[in-house]
Amino acid sequence: MTVLDDSPAAAPQPAPASSRRPAKGNPWHPTVRGTLLVTQIELLRRRPTVKGWIFYGLLLAAILGLGVLLAVVSGDEKSSTPMELVLVLVLGAGMLIAPSLAATSINGDSSEGVLAPLQMTRLTAGDLAFGKLLASWLIAFAVLLTMTPFLVYAFTRSGWHVGELIVVIGVILLVVLTSTAIGLAWSSLAARAVASVSLAHLTTGALLLGTLLAFVFTQPLVSETVTDQSRYIDYEALTDEQREAYDTWDWSEVDPSTLPCRAPDDPYEYGVPHTERTAWLLLANPVVLIGESSPIISFETWEEDGRAAPGLFAEMHRWVSDSRVGPSESDLAGEQWDECAMLVADQNGEVYNGGGGDWEAEQEANSVYPRAPWIGLGVQGVLLAGAMWIVVARLRVPYTKLRQGTRVA
């Protein structure tokens, strides 16, 4: 039990740590100070090397140059296409980058053995969760900043107002934040980085494509069967004279209104989907959410409104509104095309409009139908809160359960 005399002397121990107050209970909620400290640690750890900064600079310069070139070369008539492309690109890049960063943040730290030492400090599970969320989101944000030149160029041609752009950018950043949280949640659930990264991207894919597929595939479930009410010339019952006139389209001898008319014996039946019941699936889609957060462009009055011609987003808004409104009464009454009436109208020099509703008026009405971003925002909010709840719960120590096949570290 004796200490060897010839052992090298250790340096004197430092004075006791004094600037602390005692801990109570087992708090888990995030604190501003703790969250910022964890963010700082994460950003320091992920800070680029010199090569990284050079790459980032070159990328920025290239994009800046391209942006300037585009602005110079292109004409000055308004167009919404560049704006829509840039926004979709920013959303897509954000939804790719942020989860990739976040999805290795917890299980990666754990297998590197740097998670548990932090959990042994006064930092709470909430501090760790929100610090990591903030750090990954900020890095994704820094990458998205490189798109700014494109955005400025696109904005100048779009006919949008600054306020509208800020709202849409805000919504995109929220979607990216939610994607980050989902990545973190998978990282806290899956033991291995490969699994959590793929699951995070699958979740993104489910939001982007899954909602569309679900919308399409649930249509038979909400369809109402309607009967085709169309009427046709009864060809068999025509007299020879009438048949002659009908085949040659020469109505000088025969009055079209005298032709025998009939409905088919076995009328065609088809489904009309009540899309107003499943339109929320579309509204949950992040790209639709961006569209629904963008300004409404009227199909009729866009020029007087100082807008660019209706583009991708306007078309999407019109389609989403169609789905939200659902089938009209005339849609549900079934197809009512009347060949006999058409012949009469044609003979009188009128345009036969098919017996259904006024399709063009419907299109125009739906193009300015009120926007519906709230379901999409709600989905994003619920996913964000749910994911962070999982992360905090999984980071709380003492652990009751461990990730399958892992150790505490």
Partner: protein
């Protein structure tokens, strides 16, 4: 550091009673009971996979025990886990470091995690780096450190919060001989400053020099009094090497001194160092040509080996 030791009062700094924890069908710790008093060093010894690290994690407040009672610095990790973690300096068996942060940054950020003011965390980090002789690496990233240097950084990290209890899981792993001696000295100094130290290691000869008490673990159970008796017995064993083993055996047999016959020489039991001196003098007086006389190796190692035999 003396202040922290008075805060612990007369109770044990760490106590565990009947602690159990299983992972699914694997019973990592079945029944563990131990106490570590302030100002002492206790060894936790056992074969690989006997549950040492799991027990340490439960003591540290990182893992919830299925049953049993734990108190660390008077707090129950079930209700006051934050206080427990705050009172503990934990040196894990896994060496992790933020590889592109410098040593000093690492310690400063850790200190701030313990809610030290930035300048205080920095000063304390610098002082601890000097203590573990890593001051020349203070501003270099931790990825350049060798395994042993990382081990020392880990020790410094464990001391950032000036803990009353120090849990060290395999601290001597990967250390060079000089660093091992330094570790031993450091651990004794920390104990002298009133800290309770629990240290697990496989280098049993190393522990012999360092610990006041030892807890043996096997198959998830801490072994009780009979193993303590074995350690005490092992500490009394002295090995005698002579030029004439036949003479030695005859002399011991005539005097009815019990001894273990060994391939070379013999092993006797002596009660104390004084008794050992007397025994040597007596043997010399009997004309036995003694060329070696001393403790028969590591007491902990001998006990460990008997335990291993029992296991088989």
């Amino acid at each position: 550091m003396v202040e922290t030791s008075t805060a612990v009062l007369a109770t044990a700094a760490v106590s565990a009673r009947g602690v159990a924890r299983s992972f699914g069908s694997v019973h990592a710790v079945v029944d563990a009971t131990l106490e570590v008093q302030p100002g002492t060093v206790t060894a936790l010894i056992g074969p690989n996979g006997c549950g040492k690290t799991t027990l340490m994690l439960m003591l540290a407040g990182l893992l919830r025990p299925d049953s049993g009672e734990i108190r660390v610095a008077g707090a129950d990790p079930r209700h006051d886990a934050a206080a427990v973690r705050d009172a503990i300096g934990w040196m894990p068996d896994q060496l992790g470091s933020w590889d592109n942060l410098t040593c000093l940054q690492t310690l400063t950020l850790m200190g701030r995690g313990f809610r030290l003011h930035a300048h205080e965390a920095r000063e304390r980090g610098a002082a601890l780096l000097a203590m573990v002789h890593l001051d020349e690496f203070a501003d270099r990233p931790t990825r350049v450190l060798s395994r042993g240097q990382k081990q020392r950084l880990s020790i410094a990290r464990a001391l950032m919060n000036d803990p009353a209890v120090l849990l060290m899981d395999e601290p001597a792993n990967g250390l060079d001989p000089r660093s091992r001696v330094e570790l031993r000295t450091l651990v004794r100094e920390l104990a002298a400053a009133g800290k309770a130290v629990l240290v697990s290691s496989h280098v049993l000869a190393e522990l012999d020099e360092m610990v006041d008490d030892a807890v043996f673990m096997s198959k998830g159970r801490t072994l009780g009094d009979e193993i303590a008796a074995k350690v005490a017995d092992a500490r009394t064993r002295y090995r005698i090497g002579t030029l004439d083993d036949a003479l030695l055996h005859r002399v011991l047999a005539e005097a009815r001194v019990p001894f273990d016959d060994e391939p070379t020489g013999a092993v006797i039991r002596v009660g104390s160092e004084e008794e050992a001196a007397q025994a040597l003098a007596w043997l010399m007086a009997k004309g036995v040509p003694v060329h070696r006389f001393g403790p028969a190796g590591s007491a902990l190692e001998q006990t460990y080996m008997t335990m291993e035999e029992e296991r088989r």
